[in-house]
């Protein structure tokens, strides 16, 4: 199996300078390899550092030590020592990150919000918009909303727009932070289907899934985490 993303000796603490310099250890010496077509579920109690690890795999958090090796366009890049422009490129083409929160851009219509990641890497506009419409339909966003900016949508609708945006590019690596939190059963099933399809095309997936039904449907392997250490 081809390894698509790997963490080596990853350690993370937070030093809170605004709170008297308190040091919070989050995880220490984490090693994790995820291959093509595999889905690893980060598992452990609240506060065990699951989200911090996931964010570190996206270079959203800066670990204190270790490497995050990503297979990117035929080579291997350490995300933590790469230049900012390289990380931007890797995020555009190789690693997708889907959380339950949409960062709303003022005035940009829903269809454009969904299509943007694919258009920005030069994908064919006609195919991209067709794919965006399919995703929005599958996620039950009514067509009358597609031309509106999602700022005024309900939380659940914004969440589903964000999922559509996360799946518009066939990223080789997908990081999923509770993508199904608070979705209804039908939409939860759609997200399960989308994740399965991503696995079938060979995506390496690391996720946090609190919902047992989702977890059981897609997880190949659990990565156990405990508070304060790996």
């Amino acid at each position: 199996m081809t390894i698509r993303i790997a963490a080596e000796g990853l350690s993370k603490t937070f030093t809170l300078h605004t709170q008297g310099g308190t040091v919070l250890p989050v995880f220490d010496g984490v090693g994790l390899e995820v291959g093509a077509g595999e889905c690893v579920c980060l598992h452990g109690p609240s506060g065990a550092g699951k989200s911090s690890l996931l964010r570190s795999l996206y270079a959203n958090y800066k670990p204190d030590a270790g490497r995050v090796l990503v297979a990117h366009e035929g080579g291997e890049v350490d995300l933590l020592s790469a230049d900012p422009w390289e990380v931007v490129e890797i995020r555009r083409r190789t690693i997708g990150y889907v959380s339950q929160f949409l960062r709303v851009i003022p005035r940009v219509p829903t269809l454009e919000v969904v299509a943007e990641p694919a258009l920005s890497i030069g994908r064919d506009p006609a195919e991209t918009y067709a794919a965006a419409r399919t995703l929005l339909t599958r996620l039950r966003i009514p067509e009358r909303l597609w031309s509106l900016a999602p700022a005024t949508f309900s939380g659940g609708e914004q969440q589903r727009v964000n999922i559509a945006r996360g799946f518009i590019v066939d990223y080789p690596v997908l990081l999923l932070d509770e993508p199904t939190a608070s979705l209804d059963a039908a939409n939860r099933q759609t997200v399960i289907d989308l994740i399965r399809e991503a696995k079938e095309r060979g995506a390496a997936i690391v996720g946090i899934f609190h919902d047992a039904e989702v977890r059981n449907a897609i997880t190949d392997r659990f990565f156990e985490m405990r508070p304060g250490l790996a």
Binding site: R55, A59, N60, Y61, K62, P84, W85, P106
Partner: protein, 259 residues
Amino acid sequence: MSAREPILDVRNVDKRYGETVACEDVSFTLRRGEVLGIVGESGSGKTTLLRCLAGRLAPDSGEILVDIPGLGRSDIVAMDEARREQALPLALSLVHQNPRDGIRLDISAGGNISEPLMGQGRRHYGDLRSVALHWLKRVEIAPGRIDSLARTFSGGMQQRLQIARCLVTHPQLVLMDEPTGGLDVSVQARLLDLLRGLVRELGIAAVVVTHDLAVVRLLADRLMVMQRGRVIEEGLTDQVLDDPHHPYTQLLASSVLQA
């Protein structure tokens, strides 16, 4: 991965006003299509740095290498003033916080847009007018206002006009000083969205100085945090804002009021 070419290379720039340090040992590289945000409180040196980059202020030491069309990479600090004034507008534009500093109030909107082109030797009236119409549309000003004096525009319209005037020459680098400062929140959102679209579509590199973290989050790929003239933290924008390491950056990131 092929690296995009650097368009701006800043090396060890120092600037003092008497005993006061405005910029100390500032270095960074900006590549084509990259947007860099610079944040910091008043007096942190961010505006001084921007004025040095724009060639409006001479640093005490250091190099500022700009890729200038026809000249190649040139140190604008070492260049003589006359040459700098002639060459720099080919490479970069400066968007002022106050649009009145960047447009001419007593000429028409169309005149404001075509003037920089005339400065580059374009004279054909019909061409200039059609370019002006095109840019008015791009910045969402009604074409019917082309002959109105800039003075008669609202603050938000004047700011959009200034942006058109700055982009009409297709600079590869745009420097912006608090581009949304002093505007109503609703006008800010529109301007931000417009800037974001233009920057991406035209593939220009930009340096945006602001104290508004929401502005950098929306516009900038990278972020530099300045305090007392020094760069104290830098990295990807989301990284610096979501996992700040320096005490001052932590204070800044935790002080944002949630709307």
